[in-house]
Amino acid sequence: SQQGEEDPQALSIQEGENATMNCSYKTSINNLQWYRQNSGRGLVHLILIRSNEREKHSGRLRVTLDTSKKSSSLLITASRAADTASYFCATDPPRQLTFGSGTQLTVLP
């Protein structure tokens, strides 16, 4: 199955800084999604970007998609301690979304 791979595996920043996470994938997609997971909980959908879109915003989140490089990035601006979580990308296809190991973001107060 196709799988999004997140990079870096771990990221530690100070509150107020921006955080950037990357996702690479292998074959053509219809859409790419980003999810967040707080420790010990289920994943929560953050944003979906379609293959014909290059950039999308939602509050403090900005997602870009470069289909020529088969990569996406998630930018969280003005980070807060509450943004501490794991972040995952997933691609469709396959229709059964598959996830990588995620990026563990720690925002220090």
Partner: protein, 114 residues
């Protein structure tokens, strides 16, 4: 508010027991999924279903089976639990007949097999 409910938050079972993990969604979604999550391995897909009474194997189906008798309920069955099935189990659902719109996840079941 939309909801995916997993029957247990924590579960402790003995080796060899038959284990049922239940998942119910209230959004009339066609698609339902079971994942397991282990440290360093991310989420791995066990089984999924696009319709009632329909099931397909994911990446790691060995040792598991599923049941979807009603649209809203998707059960994961461990026929004979083993210690290597100790894990966090996550259920999810989504709408969409050809592509996935966003997945809604349950809170997870942390299963320990002793």
């Amino acid at each position: 508010d939309v909801k995916v409910t997993q029957s247990s938050r924590y579960l402790v079972k003995r080796t060899g027991e038959k284990v049922f993990l239940e998942c119910v969604q209230d959004m009339d979604h066609e698609n339902m999924f079971w994942y397991r999550q282990d440290p360093g391995l991310g989420l791995r897909l066990i089984y999924f279903s696009y319709d009632v009474k329909m099931k397909e194997k994911g990446d790691i189906p060995e040792g598991y089976s599923v049941s979807r008798e009603k649209k809203e309920r998707f059960s994961l069955i461990l026929e004979s639990a083993s210690t290597n099935q100790t894990s966090m189990y996550l259920c999810a659902s989504s709408s969409g007949r050809t592509t996935n719109e966003k997945l809604f996840f349950g809170s997870g079941t942390q299963l320990s097999v002793l």
